[in-house]
Symmetry: C4
Subunit: 204 residues, 4 copies
């Protein structure tokens, strides 16, 4: 996929996720690698279903420095950029979705400590490397007042061996980060995790 097609795909996915109430009220976001050292990220503080391909920033995931700004000078890159970049670096993710879905908040309420256990769902097979007989452990971290302050806890979760098979991190009272090796796997993992979040809290 060339960069223009990727930009169009990212904005199409934002509209899809908005329709599902995962990125309402300007919340949430998305990013994807457009090439080595080049991460496209959505702007912050804007209605996500209205983001246009030219509104995306290109940043360097090693430094979070802006390579190419959005065409509209009033835009700023997503506040999640340090977290997006950490997930790209530590897990080799090609794309990360930041969801503000209520189901992510509600399912995290059920996790007493720092882990949510998901089991007994065929849909677990929609996660790379996970089977439907697995007890799938998803890290749950506490929210912070500013989004970049989450980065330390995100990095700790990414290297925690308990979560080696997780493709998501839940942030209590907040939402989730969900990733995949490319934008299509990130979409699949995003849909699968939201199904699992809703299913797990509805079952309890």
């Amino acid at each position: 996929m060339n960069e223009q097609a990727l930009r169009e795909t990212l904005t199409t996915l934002l509209r899809l996720f908005y329709a599902k109430d995962w990125v309402s009220g300007t919340g949430g976001g998305i990013c994807a690698m457009a090439g080595p050292g080049r991460l496209l990220v959505a702007p912050t503080g804007v209605h996500k279903e209205m983001v246009e391909p030219a509104d995306l920033f290109a940043i360097d995931p090693a430094t979070c420095g802006v390579i190419d700004a959005a065409a509209n000078a009033a835009l700023k890159p997503s506040e999640c950029s340090p977290i997006f970049a950490a997930i790209v670096r530590k897990r080799g993710a090609g794309s990360v979705v930041h969801s503000h879905a209520l189901d992510a908040v509600l399912v995290a309420d059920l996790a007493p400590g720092d882990v949510l256990s998901i089991r007994r769902f065929e849909m677990l097979k929609g996660l790379k490397g996970v089977g439907n007989a697995d007890d799938h452990a998803v890290p749950v971290i506490d929210n912070t007042e500013r989004e970049p302050e989450l980065t330390g806890a995100v990095e700790a979760a990414l290297k925690d061996p308990r979560f080696a098979k997780a493709h998501a991190i839940l942030v209590r009272d907040h939402g989730a980060y969900i990733w995949g090796e490319d934008v299509w796997e990130a979409k699949r993992h995003t849909e699968v995790y939201h199904f699992l979040f809703e299913g797990t809290w509805t079952r309890r």
Copy 2:
């Protein structure tokens, strides 16, 4: 944004809110300032998703007098006009949404007195001047038989110091008024409050 573009935006938002079940059965409405002393308001008693740009009235928010009637002579301005005008005058709002969402009714049921307390949601940051660690107080007023009779209670809530950071008023058994400094902030606040209403009553 020129007035024609604003009229088109308001009718687009009515269709969006209808799709979310916030203005069904001809309920609810929207208004926005088109310039000094010129407030565009939707007509009353009509299917809100079918309102056309030329169907909006221009009224004077100081007097609620009609400046420009809708093109269709059968239409009347929204019954909420005195409330819309009060919110514009007292809070400097540029746009107000009147929601008939069931979630607004259900969450008000949980508030024993005249205040709903919302806390522990990242989405609180989607409200101007509010942080995710705040205990956010939203006024709750009792419903009346006719909509203009709500105006006194609305005005009292607007000047109550407990609600200085609120951008919404819940009306018991009825819905909510939600505002912002312009139509885009009103849209963002509307989506954020509906998330918070649903999240708060689902958590309890």
Copy 3:
């Protein structure tokens, strides 16, 4: 509205109601008066969101006899025709919607006898002649094995003075018939009642 426009409106409403899950699985239906003694009714046993304007039958509401069959000879008029015709005759309705919404089934479960009482909703004002302080009584009748067998109970409810202000009849385990003086009032009443059904059973 001329008959062709009315036919197009009826099929548009079927698609809208299908999107809301009120006429799924070929269930439910709609009718409207196209002139004196001429009632347009949807065909039976077909996917309601796929009904085309030429697929509607014109029947005589006094006799249920077919005046003009659908263009497609494979179609049959709705099984609800005797009930539609009774509501037209006894209440002067210009349009009747038959809903198969789950909310209608669930709210009827809450009614121990033959009446559902709805109160404390501003949305009650969306029903002609009803105020938000009213205790609104909706008749609830038992289901029968074949739809035309409901006609007797429907007619009894229509003339019962307790239900003089009702614009709907709930059929236990089945759904609801909802009417208005024309197709737009029937649409408004349909949306209002579904809001009230969902709100009433969610509150309990």
Copy 4:
């Protein structure tokens, strides 16, 4: 319907079912007979709402052997093919839908043994040969680690006399297979069963 029209219908239905959250995260699928010994099946592991008519495989339901591969050489036929083929052979189905709906999972949780009993719903009449006074028995089988391993239990359920009137099999923690004599009956049965699944678990 010629084969090209059938291919287009199948992909349209996948988009519809995706919008209803029945085939999210690449889960679920569909098949239909295009002629004697020729079963069209959706590919596996792809986003189902993006499947194009040329992406479908034609297989032999007697052997599950591929007759015509998808135009795109990267695609593989659905993992459900042996189950689809068994339902076609044993029940004479012309089309089978595989749903990954959460409602199917939740309702199966309510069935203590190998049968879910559904009763007191008018919508039961939407199933061929079933009346609204029936106590409708749907088989529930346990999930397995790989989808083809379900085939034995599916075949046993298909020949179990208790389930002679069932047009669906629930797979615990997984979803459902739902069929009809052609693609339109399969669509109707799919919508009806999802209504009944949601209604049954919500009532309890």
